[in-house]
Symmetry: C2
Subunit: 351 residues, 2 copies
């Protein structure tokens, strides 16, 4: 019935464990970049990217904050690139993320930050790209060619690269190398059961037009990425919110036809997700719970648990999988092609 819809999208989700293994072979390069970062001792790590890469940057804030206890931020690209603000980059490191390495304002940002004295690192699938050449150093993401417009394996490898880099800076490289290897195995095992359960769920969601995806802390990146997959592949207006944002306003819009997808992982931010879920139920909303602590979300209509990660910092690499699979399944249920969303192209050259 669905013909060839989503062939590339699902193949790339299934390739994620192998993509992680390819990245692990780059550990010596990641260690070398980490050594350079430690030598620079930046006052601030500025993360930049758009779309999926910006979602990965949200994760980078926590990976650097929790492992070496460094201040990392998603920086404003426009302040430097369009407004020409003469910020002081001398004590900064930049980590620029781009699948293609061709996003024009990310490249321009790196050129200016480097000229201003920043130490610049490019994370890209294309080590010969403009971005890679603009930066001081490059780490190849090793996700391999991505044919579906909606990125999946690039996102997971961006998270893993940020985790490995932050861990190496903190002197915990080998521990996280083992951790990412375990995650690759856990992802492989989880694929088939989750593909089945998300297909079953998709039929119940065929008429959903709007949705909130909530997470906090480490899992805010997951909420953003799940929302983006649903928006681009299924034309659902899916908005990511921190669990705390939700109760500061948007909970007022929730009704029984307005599902809230909660990412619940067993870490210090879990109580906020649990509390937000209670507020959603009180407002009459319908809950989907995913993450390794999905069972902690009482009253969820649907639960899509994932295995626990070897370290809470690595949980987001697993938490995104149900959302990726569900977005693809829902696209098929709606007769849409997740490989070629309407109105999108692979590289967004307009910045």
């Amino acid at each position: 019935m669905t013909g060839d819809l989503g062939v590339a999208y699902f193949a790339e989700i299934h390739e994620q464990p192998q993509a992680l293994e390819r990245l692990l072979a780059r550990m010596p390069e990641i260690d070398a970049v980490a050594k350079q970062l430690v030598a620079r001792a930046p006052a601030i790590v500025r993360l930049v990217g758009h779309g999926t890469s910006d979602n990965a940057a949200s994760y980078g804030v926590y990976a650097f904050g929790l492992l070496p206890a460094w201040t990392a931020v998603r920086d404003s690209i426009s302040l430097t690139t369009y407004y020409d603000a003469p910020l002081d980059f001398a004590h900064s490191a930049v980590v620029a993320l781009s699948q293609s390495g061709r996003t024009p304002d990310v490249v321009e940002y790196v050129v200016r930050a480097r000229a201003g004295g920043a130490f610049t690192v490019a994370l890209t699938n294309e080590p010969e790209s403009e971005l890679a050449h603009a930066a001081d150093v490059v780490v190849a993401l090793e996700a391999g060619p991505e044919r579906a417009v909606a990125a999946t394996k690039t996102y997971v490898n961006e998270l893993a690269t940020l985790a490995l880099l932050a861990a190496a800076v903190a002197g915990r490289g080998p521990e996280f190398e083992d951790g990412v290897r375990s995650v690759a195995g856990l992802l492989a095992d989880a694929l088939e059961p989750l593909a089945r359960s998300t297909r079953a769920l998709a039929t119940a969601f065929a008429y959903v037009g709007r949705l909130y995806a909530i997470g906090r802390g480490l899992e805010y990146a997951t909420a953003r990425e799940v929302a983006l997959k649903l928006t681009e592949t299924c034309r659902v207006a899916a908005e990511p919110l921190t669990a705390t944002d939700l109760v500061h306003g948007p909970v007022a819009a929730v009704d029984p036809l307005f599902p809230v997808w909660t990412i619940a992982s067993d870490d210090a931010a879990l109580p906020m997700a649990v509390e937000a879920a209670k507020r959603v139920l009180a407002a009459g909303g319908m809950l989907v719970a995913s993450g390794n602590a999905a069972a902690a979300i009482r009253g969820a209509s649907y639960t899509l648990p994932v295995p626990a990660a070897p370290n809470p910092v690595l949980a987001p690499l697993l938490s995104v999988l149900p959302g990726q699979l569900f977005a693809g399944a829902l696209a098929l249920a709606k007769g849409l092609d997740p490989d070629r969303p309407v109105g999108l192209t692979k590289v967004t050259l307009a910045s």
Copy 2:
């Protein structure tokens, strides 16, 4: 017909020019805080707040970036407050925003940042609040008692306080004091005409369930605040996006029943708003254009222009007005009370 719905909400919008005048009387205190900031020469200004205050923080990134060319960021509250990450605060300043001064995790963040060596500034309507006592110094926002749950005058005074503080740090306090005084006059003049045009527009939007609000750079804060007002008062799932975020995915969800509210102001980020609007039209979406460069958005179905500000950095104080008024008008058109949105309370003690 509408009885007493929204009486406080509209009264508070109309009070905004007076609230700005009250704030201007605090200029000596703002100057004193600016001097302390200059003496500390922070490597990074960390802005924290939730909801409307977090939207104002988005503006603060640009006010500090464009005036003294300081790096300011919306910091992660959870990293410090829940995850206990031992970040280095010694070279940081903190600007904490809270209408009530009672938001628990913002207070806790300030306590920890100050203990870690940060210079901490509270911006609040309540100079005797917990937050004010936790910080090194406080600037009273002078918005006055706010009775509607959906904040309006607090937001505008938060923007003005951030602009005046950043300008004073840059040695441009008097220029911006004059600028904010002009803005108060321009706001007063714009109120009645915009109240009429937004009421006319509201009837056309009574059945809209979802909307994107887009802006970039300085006007991203406006997009966030307009979206929040629509979500909390009208139960519209309104998502704020940068003009660039939109073309990196969400444009795929746009259709003729999906309005996109574009904030267009005459500054360096305007070309991005114009380009994003073209993409919305190509996708069959319907455009509303506001801001002082609303006329630059070709093909908009509705245009809600505001007067030009004396300085582009002050434009957002005016740009938010059409959105505030429209959200109130749409709430009334739907029979909802903007003073008391369903499921929300004034102070969100759950963090």
